[in-house]
């Protein structure tokens, strides 16, 4: 190997020698220090490889031995250099291309945006442009972390912004803020649920109920009125005709209606219950998964009568997007058994009440004020207890119809 590299570096020629005195030619050449490689003879023709520096000596030996020598092939680095030297234009072109790529790679060539929904890409790009993130900016002069902060300040609509260099592309990824749905003031105000009206305040529209009234779910509380028209008179210009401003084009009701409402939750619990519980024993089954095919090596079947099974896949060897198409599969069998739970009536009622209270807490709106709670045992026989818990709350009743 080393010899080949050495010969390639120094250059060699493949010669063809024709004549009657080929042995004389070889001996003459050897005397002058010529080294031959892969010398083959076909009748009166001899083929051999000669080092570039030996060629002149070989030629002289051939002249003395009256043998004709011609070069068949030139190989090695010196000839490559010579050839490239002749194609100077191509060499300059390659160097120019490399230099251009090298220079261009130092600049930002494009800015792309990902993750925007309501914000337009154009707006983000223009904000980035103001901060200096734009094509043809020298990448080395950019302080990405700082720019990221500045861009986040410039775009308050976003909760998170990342600026990332991906080669010559600057990728701006944004996560927009999720605003709560805006209340559309439109139409009548109706009762969200049944209750007794305790407070009523009308800002706009016609009240359809009065304090102390019992209302059903969906009943109109304040009816929408025609849009209000406000007359504006400019005191500075008394002669100027008054202008009318229409605040809204749709009829709308505005106001507050608060009242008492009731919430309830019921829970039925058996006195004896059967549950599936893990015993704590578990075993692992190992296998190989190739595509859709699974070959289990240990525990292809569950060793337990009743069990939960958890499947985990492990990837073996992966590099970037490439991975070995075979995966290792682990099946974790966890033994389970059916357990019976017996409760006394008191225990069952306490548990049922606890469950019902937590269910009730989920029903009551957070801003509602709880006035009182109450629990009722509906029945406790036949192996079951049924409990209802109810709460009286004071809350906003009025909502807009869709």
């Amino acid at each position: 190997m080393y010899k080949r590299v050495k010969h390639y570096g120094r250059g060699f020629v493949r010669i063809e020698a024709t004549g009657d005195n080929l042995e004389v030619f070889l001996n003459e050449a050897l005397e002058t220090g010529v080294v031959f490689f892969n010398t083959r003879r076909e009748d009166k023709v001899l083929y051999a490889g000669v080092r570039l520096k030996d060629y002149a000596k070989a030629h002289e030996a051939a002249r003395l031995a009256e043998v004709d020598v011609r070069v068949l092939r030139e190989s090695g680095l010196p000839f490559v250099v010579l050839r490239w030297g002749r194609r100077r234009g191509l060499l300059v072109g390659i160097v120019l291309i490399l230099a251009t790529v090298l220079v261009l790679s130092q600049f930002v060539l494009s800015v792309s945006v990902e993750g925007n929904v309501s914000l337009t890409t154009q707006k983000i790009v223009s904000e980035a442009d103001k901060l200096g993130i734009r094509p043809w900016v020298y990448r080395g002069a950019m302080d990405i972390k700082n720019l990221e902060k500045q861009l986040a300040e410039a775009l308050p609509e976003c909760t998170w912004i990342s600026v990332e260099e991906r080669g010559t592309d600057i990728l701006i990824r944004v996560v927009e803020k999720a605003f709560p749905p805006q209340v559309v003031f439109q139409g009548n105000l109706v009762a969200e649920r049944a209750g007794i009206v305790e407070e009523l305040m009308v800002i706009q529209g016609l009240p359809m109920v009065k304090e102390g009234d019992t209302v059903r779910e969906g009943q109109v509380l304040i009816e929408a009125d025609v849009p209000a028209k406000v007359e504006l008179v400019n005191p500075a210009e008394p002669n100027h005709s008054s202008s009318e401003i229409t605040l809204s084009t749709m009829p709308v009701a505005k106001g507050f209606v608060r009242g008492r409402t009731w919430y309830s939750a019921e829970v039925t619990l058996p006195l004896q219950e059967y549950t599936i519980a893990p015993t704590g024993l578990h075993k692992n089954g190992w296998g190989i998964k190739a595509g859709e095919r699974v070959i289990m090596i240990t525990h292809p079947q569950s060793p337990y009568e009743e069990c939960f099974m958890e499947r985990t896949l492990y990837r073996v060897l992966s590099w970037r997007n490439w991975r070995v198409p075979v995966e290792i599969i682990k099946l974790n069998y966890q033994e389970t058994r059916v357990e019976s739970v017996s409760r006394t009536v008191d225990q069952a009622m306490a548990l049922a009440e606890e469950q019902a209270q937590s269910a009730l807490a989920g029903l009551i709106p957070q801003d509602a004020q709880v006035l009182g709670r109450d629990s009722v045992v509906l029945f406790a026989d036949d192996g079951y207890v049924r409990i209802r818990v109810q709460a009286e709350v004071f809350e906003n009743l009025a909502v807009y119809t869709q």
Binding site: E23, V24, L26, N27, E31, V35, F36, F37, R41
Partner: protein, 97 residues
Amino acid sequence: MPFKQWQQKIGETLDLPEDVFGGGPRITLFGFAVVKIEDFQQIISFSDEHVVVRVGMGQVELWGRNLVLAELSLHEIEVKGEIHGLKLQEGETCTKG
């Protein structure tokens, strides 16, 4: 006692290898495919089936098929190919070259 005999005797006494004091060539055979002859003097004849070289004490003949002189320099010759026979012939030979 002639000088050559003295040389040989000293070599034998000191347990030196033959090629150090003997003045003869060293012929190495690697399997049936490669023959290396060091310290040869001249190529007498050479074809793809027959190679004859002159060494200090006579000549070495090689027969075979597709014989190629893999490397050939002033003192060393390496022949590759299917080697069928090797013959050593002592004494002065007339050279063809």
